[in-house]
């Protein structure tokens, strides 16, 4: 387990802000994009890549690397931003979002950019793929871990629960899921659209070791994210309570920013909010 000191926390806050700024930058370039989930997951993704996972931008296929599976593939703008920030590819690629043949499709394609492990987008696929990775890594005697980011709306897909059962059956204690519980999905409040509660008990009943955190608190994210397995011979899941569109005051916790077709005025507001945050944390 790693406890962040204040300097490390500030650094990760700065990374997360850069991710948020680049998410907005890509949506500017492409005129529209999945905003809300990319911003609710930005802190988790920043912490994963800059503190929790072993990855090497100079050697993306490194056999001993940790794997990241973005099951909720529509949050990929945050993934593109963090990979660019780490140096997997040149940041200028971000400005191609939305253009013909861009390396940044609206859901990630592992053959278009280094650092992307899976093609996701259709929901309810990521956990099975991650489980297969986790079994394969164990078979090879590697201590690499597999990290998965799922949406809470996505949990209505039954295939997730197939994967949850199998991951527990195979005692995949090298597997950690973050549920980005921003409580909104495209058509409304997640528990009203299709109730998944009691979420904690549900994962527990499937044989997982569960923790619940504030998904914007970088200290909590790192402390728990570096503490797996939470229990030996069990997969781990973190229910991360987040705010959809976190960081943009006009969009936070509002359902119509799941997919954002921004007006010039909104872009201005977004820049104001993110620049103000930047002034507070020194970038």
């Amino acid at each position: 387990m790693h406890k962040l000191n204040d300097d490390e926390e500030l650094y990760l806050e700065q990374i997360a802000l850069k991710i948020r700024k680049n998410v907005v930058r890509m949506i500017k370039a492409g005129k529209a994009g999945h905003l809300g989930g990319a911003l609710s997951a930005a802190d988790i993704i920043a912490a994963l890549y800059f503190k929790i996972m072993k990855v090497n931008p100079q050697n993306p296929g490194w056999r001993k690397r940790d794997r990241f599976v973005l099951s909720a593939g529509h949050k990929c703008l945050a993934l593109y931003a963090v990979l660019a920030e780490m140096g997997f590819f040149n940041e200028s690629i971000l400005d191609t979002y939305g253009s013909l043949g861009s390396k940044l499709p609206g859901h990630p394609d592992m053959y278009k950019l280094p650092g992307i492990e899976t093609n996701t987008g259709a929901l309810g696929h990521g956990l099975s793929i991650a489980g297969g990775m986790a079994i394969g890594l164990k078979m090879d005697g590697l201590d690499s871990k597999v990290y998965v980011l799922m949406g809470d709306g996505e949990l209505a897909e039954g295939s997730n629960w197939e994967a949850a059962a199998a991951s527990s059956h195979y005692k995949l204690d090298n597997l950690l899921v973050f549920v980005d519980r921003n409580t909104l999905q495209i058509s409304g409040r997640t528990t009203e659209v299709m109730n998944y509660e009691p979420l904690y008990k549900r994962w527990e009943a499937f044989g997982w070791c569960v923790r619940e955190i504030n998904g914007h608190d970088l200290k909590q994210i790192v402390e728990n994210g570096t503490d797996i397995p939470f229990e030996n011979r069990k997969p781990s899941v973190i229910i991360a309570n987040t705010v959809k569109s976190k960081g943009l005051s006009f969009a936070e916790d509002r359902v119509n920013y799941h997919y954002w077709k921004a007006t010039p005025e909104e872009f201005q507001l977004a820049d104001q909010d993110l620049n103000e945050l930047g002034r507070r944390i020194g970038i």
Binding site: R67, A122, S128, I129, G132, M133, G158
Partner: protein
């Protein structure tokens, strides 16, 4: 034809052979291990045999993830439950991700003749044929099954292989050479070309013999690879005999007949007769009788060919 062999048992034996050859070959079962012929593999390589229970969507995703770590997963279960059921997983997690996974649908076609349409698979080739980059193999005899399993392990990329369940007549010798994407001319003739595939190749074979006795010289092609289909051989056949007849234990729509029609219509139009199951759910009853219901017995095929070329 004298000897016959159980295709699932044959598959299982072949998988043990490739398991011995390649330590990264693993087997994934969806509560179908013994029924899929996996028992010998499980016994020989217990740690490389993974059971997933009746988890027919999830097992495809797990196979995809395993392939990312360099494993060569063979996923084996009843044909509709590894094709129609998890279609999106097949498309995205195997096809789109270009994963080195081999999916084997067993008891395909009308095999589950008495169990009815839920367990029969008359659309698997049609469904999987829409996925870019997936090779579809439909072996026509036990020797070909064995060779195809070896080739599948050596080929890098997703494969769908289809096998039946009733004992298959042995049509080839052990020295038979199998090559993906290359149809095999089993008999030469000038009057008509019969193209058979998979479980009913032997029926097409018998039909060609019946026709020969009746003075009709049919050419016979075994089209074991449905995708990519052997364009050159199809064009050659159309040029040489003009008339083509396809024989398959599958829907007429989307299977071998469709694949052949697509090539001929665009590249060398020729009269085509397709024998298979028309637009309906499969019936129920004894297997051989069910084949007869859809005109797939050798004598019926011969009659259809005669009528077609008349």
């Amino acid at each position: 034809m004298s000897e016959s062999k159980d295709p699932r048992k044959t598959f299982g034996e072949a998988l043990v052979e490739v398991g011995e050859k390649y330590s990264n070959v693993i087997a994934l079962s969806a509560d179908s291990s013994s029924g899929s012929g996996l028992a010998p593999f499980k016994e020989k390589f217990p740690s490389r045999h993974l059971e997933f229970g009746i988890m027919e969507q999830g097992v495809i995703g797990f196979a995809s993830g395993l392939a990312t770590t360099g494993k060569i997963p063979f996923v084996v279960a009843i044909a509709p439950f590894v094709t129609a059921r998890p279609f999106e997983m097949f498309r995205n997690d195997l096809g789109y991700m270009r994963q080195n996974v081999k999916v084997v649908g067993r008891c395909a076609g009308l095999t589950y003749s008495t169990l009815g349409a839920t367990h029969q698979s008359l659309d698997d080739i049609a469904i999987i044929r829409t996925i870019p980059g997936v090779v579809i193999i439909n072996p026509g005899d036990p020797v070909e099954i064995k060779k195809a399993v070896h080739s599948a392990a050596e080929h890098k990329g997703p494969i769908y292989m289809r096998i039946g369940s009733p004992a298959m007549p042995i049509l080839y010798n052990e020295d038979y050479r199998f090559e993906f994407g290359k149809g095999v001319v089993m008999k030469e003739g000038n009057d008509v070309t019969i193209i058979g595939t998979g479980t009913v190749l032997s029926k097409a074979f018998d039909a060609a013999e019946i026709l020969e006795k009746d003075g009709i010289h049919a050419s016979l092609i075994n089209m074991h690879t449905i995708k990519p289909i052997d364009h050159d051989l199809l064009i050659k056949a159309a040029k040489e005999t003009r008339k083509i007849v396809t024989v398959e234990e599958h829907y007429l729509h989307g299977g071998l007949g469709s694949a052949v029609a697509e090539v001929l219509a665009l590249e060398y139009p020729a009269p085509l007769k397709m024998i298979g199951v028309d637009d309906q759910f499969g019936g129920n009853g004894p297997y051989e009788k069910l084949l007869g219901l859809y005109g797939l017995q050798a004598g019926q095929i011969a009659e259809t060919v005669k009528e077609f070329i008349r």
